[in-house]
């Protein structure tokens, strides 16, 4: 395969594998607690970080990580208050982050919103060696948290009140989920792009759910789908010269549709079995 002869493609494919593993891994927990849009919000906030990187002549990846983590912690604090006004506060944070990014990038010497395009939609040619180092370190953190603490995170996302009464440090774990989601956003930023990163957190999980019954199975299948689509999307981008983020996300949606089609007969059979079971139950009840 000649594409592996290019150093930039080696870096892009390595970054793609790490995106494919990490985004669905943290995404499974976000979907579990019905917080699927959180990744989208963090992606918006991370824009300010990228722009700050340009302005301060610092690494956009590390600046984006810093700002995204601060934003995600803010979102978690708003969420944990559970106020109805939280929705509005989150919207302020999302769009404030996006608007801040657009403003700051234009203040940077020679900067314009054009600089942001590759960060918004992903680009395989721009993954620098320095980026790869950052992405590997950040991805290792995400994998350690999402797999190493999966029983604790599962409990917290399944039933927060119950988790608190088992004595788990729920507040800490919630903050950890937020920070991990933020870190994942910056892992995915170079390949998938900030506007599409949330898709990689959600779509592989949704696709996996079509065929799985358990949590560990969903987590594993989602990660496999994530790696498959991000690797094939990155490779395809090499030949067709399109933004990698769009290609990867469209492939993920394709996988979702195929799995939905495949699983429909399965789901129908399960629904029939469940209905049959309920009919038996009803007759029992009448007897009682």
């Amino acid at each position: 395969m000649d594409l592996l002869d290019y150093a930039f493609m080696q870096r892009a494919l390595l970054a793609a594998v790490l995106v494919g593993v990490t985004a669905p891994a943290i995404g499974t927990y976000l979907v579990q607690r019905r917080q699927a849009v959180m990744g989208d919000g963090i992606g918006h906030v991370a824009m300010t970080g990228v722009a700050l990187g340009f302005l301060l002549n610092a690494s956009p990846v590390w600046m984006a990580t810093l700002v995204a983590v601060i934003g995600a912690v803010g979102m978690e604090l708003i969420r944990s208050r559970g106020k109805t006004s939280g929705d509005i506060a989150l919207a302020m944070l999302f769009y404030g982050g996006l608007a801040g990014g657009v403003m700051i990038i234009n203040l940077a010497p020679g900067g314009s919103t054009a600089n942001l395009t590759s960060y918004l939609f992903g680009s395989i040619t721009t993954v620098s060696a320095e980026d790869v180092t950052a992405v590997v370190i950040l991805a290792a953190f995400v994998i350690a948290v999402t797999l190493g603490l999966r029983r604790q995170l599962f409990a917290v996302c399944q039933d927060e009140e119950f988790a608190r009464v088992t004595g788990l440090p729920v507040r800490f774990l919630n903050l950890l989920i937020a920070v991990t989601a933020a870190v994942t956003v910056t892992v995915a930023m170079r390949i998938v792009g900030l506007l599409l990163v949330s898709a990689m957190m959600v779509i592989p999980v949704a696709a996996a759910q079509r065929v799985t019954r358990g949590f560990t199975a969903t987590l594993s299948v989602a990660m496999v789908i994530g790696v498959l689509v991000s690797l094939s999307g990155t490779t395809l981008t090499y030949y067709i010269d399109a933004p990698s983020g769009g290609t990867i996300v469209l492939l993920a949606i394709g996988v979702f549709m195929v799995m939905t089609a495949l699983s429909t007969p399965l789901a129908r059979r399960r629904a029939n079995a469940a209905r049959a079971a309920e009919e038996v139950c009803t007759r029992d009840d009448v007897k009682v």
Binding site: Q152, Q158, D159, F162, A163, V165, G214, E278
Partner: protein, 263 residues
Amino acid sequence: MESQPAEAADQPVISLRGATASLGSRPVLRGVDLTVRRGEVVALLGANGSGKSTAVRAIVGQVPLSDGELALFGTDFNRFRAWSRIGYVPQRTTAASGVPATVREVVSSGRLARSRFGVLRKSDKAAVERALALVDMSQYADASVNALSGGQHQRVLIARALAVEPELLIMDEPMAGVDLANQEVLANALREQVAAGSTVLLVLHELGPLEPLIDRAVVLRDGCVVHDGPPPEAVGQHALPGHDHVHPHAAHGAEPLRTGLLS
């Protein structure tokens, strides 16, 4: 009234004194006293909005007390860390979430109170299997909770609490939306727990099949205790077990639904 010296045997498992709590600006508990001793089965009864659920959630630290004292197993609540002694069944109509999970996975999460680092050893797995068997859900262990009926959801939530192997079982409306057949299963599970020496505090809308198990009933009205003694028998209050309580269940059972119509 003040914290007693450590005298394990005769110490109340739950000691709530003069508890007041508010949700928003609305006072929900207005000076509630509740003592549960070792081995007792206490039912907390009352109409909707009487504060019974808030009282239970305050006891497990989910609602802050604005005044009053709370001690669990003789330890002041602020210093209480022995969560593995408590099995908690929060008020839920479903054990499902946004991602599929098997019955065993949900029940295993109860075990985290004992296996803090999340590694399930042989003894943990055995406890999970025992809990599943207690609520008669072993045959569904690998099924997705999304595929269960309402009564089975409650059985899973109770198994999750039993997996802790608790000394004290606290249940918030475990019978809500559960048909009679499932209520019998739950009553059997509870009977075995009580026979093994567990202490139980449960919020109920009506006593139902659990009636023979209940040692004492505490009735709340508008955030105050109005009765603390033997379970009331067929009094005229609509929140208490009435003579007609069988009929709504039969009607409910005939039309299987997942959510608690009765709650």
